[in-house]
Symmetry: C2
Subunit: 197 residues, 2 copies
DNA sequence: AATAAGCTAGCACGGATGTGCTAAAAAGGG
DNA sequence: CCCTTTTTAGCACATCCGTGCTAGCTTATT
């Protein structure tokens, strides 16, 4: 009977506003007021869709996870179909590159990822989702390595995953030093050393 | 004529209080009030030693940098003196291990490092010091690799530095998964692959 | 003992934050 | 057309923040 608004779509729009605020001014500035302003809504409207502030941030992190997962899954299929050799090498590089701030879109996503995962250390509301994201990434990396016949999969998984996390961190915090070219070169070098070593 | 208090020592004590608050509750909780409470001082006393809030955080980050630098420099000498072979390998591992959360002390330091460097992205007051820290670490890693006769020093420096950053990040955020043993194994594996590859 | 300076304590202000609550507005089904 | 229910808007309150000020305390020197 009333104005019908897909509540899930609305929540996603608000999450987008959260992302923009976080990118520009950091997670600690993602207050209800700032987010509502950024979304062009009144604070009361935002609160109608979210139980409280924690609920808002939690949903935003879930949204980020979903988006990332969707993007990665496409590449997983590509790696599977690219049977072997050079084709597979490129597919793996493309897959892992999705986790690095190589272009403006992925840069935004990495900035948001970094803000949320680090915040999760002291924000209980974010911990479980941050944990899920962390484990999901390890699972993907582990499967890629196992599929490539890399020995010592456990250590190598953590090594590659840590390298990706570190590259993303550096690329976000010192983008003029850790440029996309540098990140690509490092990733390629690492993958090459896994094949020969 | 008045009670004489070494002001620099006082500033360092307050910085310690900042560190404790940051470790426990995050950088965004390091307000003048919380820090003063933690230090057992009145807010007015803290403000007597620091021009403003930015000055406090800036000094704390400089203090962290100094402490880290002092610890690393000892190991640099050790690496230089350990001429070659197994002795050098262990010395290098010990040096780089200082940058990882391998024990409670270094864990504290890594937590604080992560909080400050990530905060520097959106806090202008911290940017220059965070930059200096970042570059200092690269310099150390670069020299270690060059001294070890590693080819492609530039790419390898960024690769190892990113790996260390990533390991520290994971060790801080998921300490039950990325344990000291895991970190040590990954670091050792990486260093080994540099020698043989 | 008097004094002058460093040091400590804390009040007051304007602004921001999360949340409880109320009331207006909007719009599709009767 | 009207009514019901979702959606929107916003006020009010307690709390916290950084900072400008102003006193009072403490103590080494004269």
């Amino acid at each position: 009977m009333p104005k019908v608004v897909d509540p899930e779509a609305r929540r996603r729009e608000v999450a987008e506003a959260v992302f923009r605020v976080v990118r520009r001014h950091g997670l600690e500035q993602a207050s209800l007021r700032n987010v509502a302003d950024e979304a062009g809504l009144a604070i009361g409207s935002v609160r109608h869709y979210f139980a409280d502030h924690d609920d808002l941030l939690r949903f935003a992190l879930e949204e980020l996870t979903d988006r990332l997962e969707r993007r990665i899954l496409v590449h997983v299929a590509a790696v599977r179909s690219a049977s072997t050799g050079e084709g597979r090498r490129q597919a793996v590089e493309d897959l892992l590159g999705e986790l690095l701030p190589l272009d403006p879109d992925r840069r935004d996503e990495s900035e948001i990822w970094l803000a949320f995962t680090t915040a999760a250390r002291t924000r209980p509301a974010l911990r479980s989702q941050a944990r899920r994201l962390h484990e999901g990434l390890r699972m993907i990396v582990g499967k890629v390595l196992a599929g490539g016949g890399v020995p010592d999969v456990e250590v190598e998984t953590e090594r590659l995953a840590a390298l990706l996390d570190g590259l993303a961190l550096d690329g976000v915090l010192q983008p003029d030093l850790t440029t996309p070219e540098v990140m690509r070169a490092v990733l390629r070098r690492h993958l090459a050393s896994l094949s020969t070593g």
